[in-house]
Amino acid sequence: MKSRNFTISIALVVAFLAACGGQATAPTAAPAPAATTAPAATAVKATDAPKATDAPAATVAPKATDAPAAATATTAPPAAATNPMDYLNATRAETMIIDQPYKLETTDNWNPFTPGNATGWGMQLGMDGLMYLNFGDGKYVMWMADSYSSNADATEWTLKLKKGITWSDGVPFNADDILYTVNLQIGNDKLSNHFYWDEWLSKIEKVDDWTIKYTLKKPNVLFGAQRFGGSLGVFADTFVPKHIWETVKDPTTFKNYDPAKGLPLGTGAYILAKVTTNETIFVRNDNWWGAKTGLAKLPEPKKIVFSYVGTEEVRTQTAIDNGFDSMQDITVGALQAMLAQNPKWQAWYDQKPYAVADPCARIVSLNSLKKPWDDKDMRNMLSMVMDRKQIVDIAYEGSTTLAAYFWPSYPSMKPYADLIDKATYDKMLTPDVTGAAAILTAKGYVKGAKYWAKDGKDLTIEIQVPEDFIELIRVGDVYVEQLQKFGINATEAKLGAVFYDNSANGNYEAQSNWFACGSINEPWSTLNTFAGAAAPIGTKPKGPPIDNAFRWSNKQYTDLVAQIGTTKLDDPKLTELTKQALAILYTELPAMPSAQSRKIVPFNNTYWTGWPTSANYYMFPCNWCSVFAYIITKVSAVK
């Protein structure tokens, strides 16, 4: 028996140690906004956009029609200076390593239009965007787009492309590829953007090889920002090469993955060379069109590695040992440890709050189809209990600012934020447990020894959080405790992928999330997330303005949002419409703002320098967004 006990003890100790070592909690990360989230709109007119600084190279860009229709990705780059695959042997000083907070679950799906694809693992460098929004000055950097414009009532939009753009196999990129991509999405409801085109697009036409005309079904003043700027202005729309994809039988099952044949094929400065579950390796394409046309300098890193090493603890230690050049979001404490042990690292600010404000405000969404949260007074009661200052102090350790908005507290949003009723807003910044208790008493609840109860049943609420999202978990931790202290038996459920399914199908009472994300410098995108009917529980919503995942429905509000969507930003009517919509939203509270999010995205100056900072705000510092393709051209090797 002794030996049996000994064996069991040893086995359990080993299992325990293994469990400790493999602790699955992932650090705070920055997933892209939910698919249902409306893309950000911007107020920047095409004419405001900086002009491209270059003249297109006259020597390249044969017409698309000149390209062999059946060309394959194996086509050798013309006059390649170096075989890109040689860069797999690049030294550390020639390599950039980017931290990834998650394992790559699916290594072979690089189809940008199907769910669960791996494109977030570096294809932001393999594909170029049309234009990128710099949150710093609110202006666009024109990239593949040369300019865009619309007619007076915003029903016709014209996009002009730069000349000289090529795919990395040397075949020219032009209007045919864009038309092909849009039509592919229109023709298949399983591909991303399908429902957007279905709602808005009447017709897409090629004017010439570099000009595309979009005719809309109804006016949309934000169309240019939404589709040419991409989601939030930093996640660009992706286009696929017609000469490759037109031979594909089923675009919904096509993996787009065969590095030996050059797949996935993009226009970006980097080519995918190698993939494992822990890392992806991209090598530089010296024939990148951007450098040839003078758009930007050829990025200096010859090899870029996206690498997952484990928990935040391991990631931070790797960073201290210069194993990374840039990290995704980490916690304040980890950053402070890193800065203390390796002064070559820098954050957005040199001191607290260190972080850059994130465009997606955090909210606690409440399911308006579930009792008792179908009652707006009960939803307001929950908001009154929330101590947002404590959330800032504890959950964020002081690294964010106090606010109660559904959108980011960017200066560009101030004109719209000021339209919220001041008394209502100010009350949200301090908890009001007396007021909350009065509401519950009026509703027939009685405070027992511990909890408020009605008809002998304690008042309970379950708040769901994504299990790998430390930031949202910590917000949930603090709020649950506030509710417990007030007398509501609140619990927190940490969920994996089912978190997102539950949101879509309405299987939740409350969720700590960011699903009202959208507005950057106009009010419609965030307000629109609450528009439409309440999608029935058990059914995935088609999305606003048809229905919404908050399961909330208010016709007057939906009508107002529809009008806001067709009102130009300089139209005085916009102020009144927005004010009315906000009044309904802040009275009804289908969700409640919990915190302003922030991202701590540290950069390492050991091998590379020129990173964006608050003092050098040339682009939102996001290595998981499309804008990283722009940032990489601004970074130089440390001599």
């Binding site: 049996r4 069991i8 603890e313 404490g333 980890a334 504890i394 405790e481 940490k494």
Partner: protein, 305 residues
């Protein structure tokens, strides 16, 4: 009732005259027991001396070092962590909570084990075949993997739920042990005598066999408790335990989640680990002590009792 651990050796028999000469006063067993009682008292009496409300999120200032370190605050002698929880208050709440999980899970496992083991060993035949096959099959399942899968789906609102889940794998060991003991006991003279006297089977099991198995049962129970605590701590350290009420594993999980090692926040993870080491050592001492009590051949003169 017959006593199985009889000894005809006159030297040993002469040692049994004093009440202090009981085999239950085995030094390892007693030492382990005293440590467990002290640990338990810390948890049970702690709330009388320390405010356990401080064990919850946002109840204290964040990231305070222990009182002996620069910046320490006597109001939080063991410091606080990044979610504003007092480390001492967390230990006071966590210790009884973790011991409770172990005790409940192991007791359920033991109860099931006594029932199934006795039936299998005493009745024999096809019930024995069925019970033995199921037990042997379950014992080969890597329980931690299955428990991780189960706890991912079961809502862990409190430690009782965790204990019930752990009990799912706590019974095969005791079942096998008790079956083997019953198999030997049923051939003993006193059991045969009881059978000849027409004593009902249940009574024979409860009055003749179980008392003779007590040291084995106790050893199995203490082993089971520490196994269940280890299992619970592993799951909690993975983040699969109850989220709100602290337990030793949850404190470790919070430390791991907050990069305690790289931040040098030793007081976030060391106290629960020290407590766990003390608990496991104590239960281990109790288990080997009980082993010696049950098996006189393991007792050497002058080598414990």
């Amino acid at each position: 009732m017959a006593v199985v651990a009889t000894n005809s050796n006159p030297k040993i028999a002469s040692r049994r005259v004093s009440i202090w000469d009981s085999p239950w006063l085995n030094s390892k067993f007693v030492t382990g027991g005293v440590i467990i009682v002290l640990v338990l008292l810390f948890g049970l009496l702690g709330p009388l001396f320390w405010n356990t409300d401080l064990a919850f999120t946002a109840s204290s200032p964040v990231n305070l070092p222990p009182v002996w370190d620069t910046g320490g605050d006597p109001a939080h002698p063991l410091g606080t962590e990044s979610n504003g929880r007092d480390m001492l208050a967390q230990l006071v709440v966590a210790i009884p909570s973790s011991l409770k999980v172990g005790l409940v899970a192991a007791s359920i496992g033991m109860a099931v084990g006594i029932l199934l083991g006795s039936i299998a060993g005493y009745v024999g035949g096809w019930p024995d075949h069925i019970i033995r096959t199921i037990t042997d099959s379950v014992i080969t399942i890597p329980s931690l993997m299955v428990l991780i899968a189960i706890t991912a789906y079961v809502k862990m609102t409190d430690t009782t739920a965790m204990a019930l889940v752990l009990a799912l794998f706590a019974w095969p060991g005791p079942t096998r042990l008790i079956r083997s003991q019953v198999l030997t006991l049923r051939e003993r003279g006193f059991v045969r005598m009881a059978l000849l006297s027409n004593v009902p089977a249940l009574e024979i099991m409860l009055t003749e066999m179980v008392p003779n198995m007590l040291p084995w049962l106790a050893a199995s129970l203490t082993g089971g408790i520490s196994g269940a605590i280890l299992g619970a701590t592993g799951l909690e350290a993975l983040g699969l335990g109850p989220t709100r009420v602290p337990s030793l594993g949850t404190i470790i999980n919070n430390a791991l989640r907050s990069s305690a090692l790289v931040r040098g926040m030793v007081w976030w993870w060391l106290p629960p680990i020290i407590v766990l080491i003390v608990i496991f050592t104590a239960f281990f001492l109790m288990t080997i002590g009980l082993d010696e009590i049950a098996n006189p051949r393991l007792r050497g003169y002058g080598n414990g009792k």
